[in-house]
């Protein structure tokens, strides 16, 4: 009888230890998950943008345009970037695009304040524009990407070509606004305006006249329409 009781006691102890081990593993996994989540949060990506989509799938765009005055210089502290961008998706897809804009932070250097453009075809490339400078705060610049010829897109700043790329036609979305890699970076107020899209007949239209207009913001960065309903003047900034 005594031996049976001892065995029973041992089995109980082993079961109890197994439970403790399981709880410990669960705790460890939870801690790891929390730590990974906090890493992911630290590396979040922020947008403060207005965007336009075609009225119907057959009315996709062939280009996008926006102008904005160079704002007070942004501040970038994380080795990433704080940018003001015009994106135009291409090839009738949402994951291929061309973008052109102004950035504080370039290739790990927080202090670089430059124009740039980039493409995802889906080969991805970024290009620094050194032929045109942002100028002092208040300097007006025009940013543009358009389908120039068969499978050829042109990128323009101030109507001056800064790049060309090979992609087929058809844009399902045009976006304008801020893209920032850290909430510690500063996006000083910037006012994109006269946003337009190019139709298939090669005519430009203001966003409100030729598409569904939306906005999107990741706190602490904000996009606001200054003229809701008309959609010719936006503002993006850090709250």
């Amino acid at each position: 009888m005594k031996t049976k009781e001892i065995i029973r006691e041992n089995v109980k102890n082993v079961t109890c230890r197994t439970k403790v081990v399981k709880v410990f593993i669960l705790l460890l996994a939870t801690l790891l998950l929390i730590s990974n989540t906090s890493i992911a949060l630290a590396q979040a990506h922020y947008y403060a943008i207005g965007y336009v989509q075609p009225l119907s799938s057959s009315q996709d765009f062939l280009g996008g345009y926006a102008q904005w005055k160079t704002p007070q210089m942004y501040t970038t502290v994380d080795g990433g970037f704080t940018s003001q961008v015009l994106w135009v998706t291409t090839q009738e897809r949402m994951d291929t695009w061309v973008e052109v804009g102004l950035t504080k932070g370039w290739k790990g250097n927080n202090d670089v304040w430059t124009m740039y453009w980039a493409e995802n075809t889906p080969t991805y490339n970024e290009y620094q524009v050194t032929s045109i400078s942002p100028g002092s705060a208040g300097t007006l610049h025009h940013y543009q990407a358009q389908y120039d010829a068969w499978n050829t897109w042109g990128i323009y700043i101030d109507y001056t070509k800064v790049g060309t790329l090979t992609q087929s036609a058809g844009s399902m979305e045009v976006d304008v606004g801020g893209e920032i890699t850290s909430s510690q970076n500063t996006l000083t107020p910037t006012y994109p305006q006269y946003m337009q899209v190019l139709d298939k007949a090669n005519s430009w239209h203001y966003w409100g006249d030729y598409g569904h207009v939306y906005s999107y913001s990741d706190s602490p960065f904000i996009w606001e329409w200054q003229d809701p309903g008309t959609y010719k003047l936006g503002k993006d900034y850090k709250q």
Partner: protein, 175 residues
């Protein structure tokens, strides 16, 4: 000498065609884009190519050690996980050769004869400049174009073209 009507018509069509071609060339030959300017463009605005771009400098060029330093600094900026990137190759070539080789698209910050270094790197890279809703682009291989004279990082991207030894050799031959 008699010339048949048919022949006369053919000659006339040929003359008109040649004339039209000449006119088209003179009209569009120097045109950068045939797309109209945006609605709010100021009068007198026109599409143009940038002028006075930096061309062939002839040197002196930055030393390889400096180029490595610039490339290593530029590479981690591609993302959080650029762990121990490895420089695979450094080639002194020209901006135009990189475009011709299909490594980068045509860009107009320097002239095609500008001397540049192409640095190819392996590692774990992430590009964060993406369109709304798209995840950052990851790559284990990148190309960096660095102005050989002033060290500007002119372009960076994920083309795998330079993995082809033939292409890389052509760029090296261009040195």
């Amino acid at each position: 000498m008699k010339v048949s009507n048919k022949r006369l018509i053919a000659i006339a069509i040929l003359i008109i065609a040649v004339f039209t071609l000449i006119m088209l060339k003179s009209t569009f030959g120097g045109v950068v884009s045939t797309v109209p300017l945006p609605l709010n463009a100021p009068s007198g605005a026109r599409y143009k190519m940038p002028d006075n771009l930096p061309g062939k400098s002839g040197g002196p060029f930055l030393k390889i050690e400096k180029i490595k330093e610039i490339a290593i600094k530029a590479a981690p900026a591609c993302g959080e996980s650029a762990s121990a990137p490895i420089i695979k190759d450094i080639v002194l070539t020209t901006h135009g050769a990189l475009i011709q080789g299909g490594i980068f698209s045509p860009s107009f910050s320097v002239s095609n004869d500008r001397e540049v270094y192409l640095v190819t790197m392996g590692g774990s890279f992430e590009f964060d400049r993406v369109s709304r809703g798209v995840k950052p682009i990851k790559s284990s291989y990148i190309n960096i174009e660095i102005d050989a004279t002033n060290g500007d990082v002119l372009a960076i991207g994920t083309s795998l073209v330079t993995k082809d030894p033939g292409i890389l050799q052509k760029l090296k031959d261009n040195q």
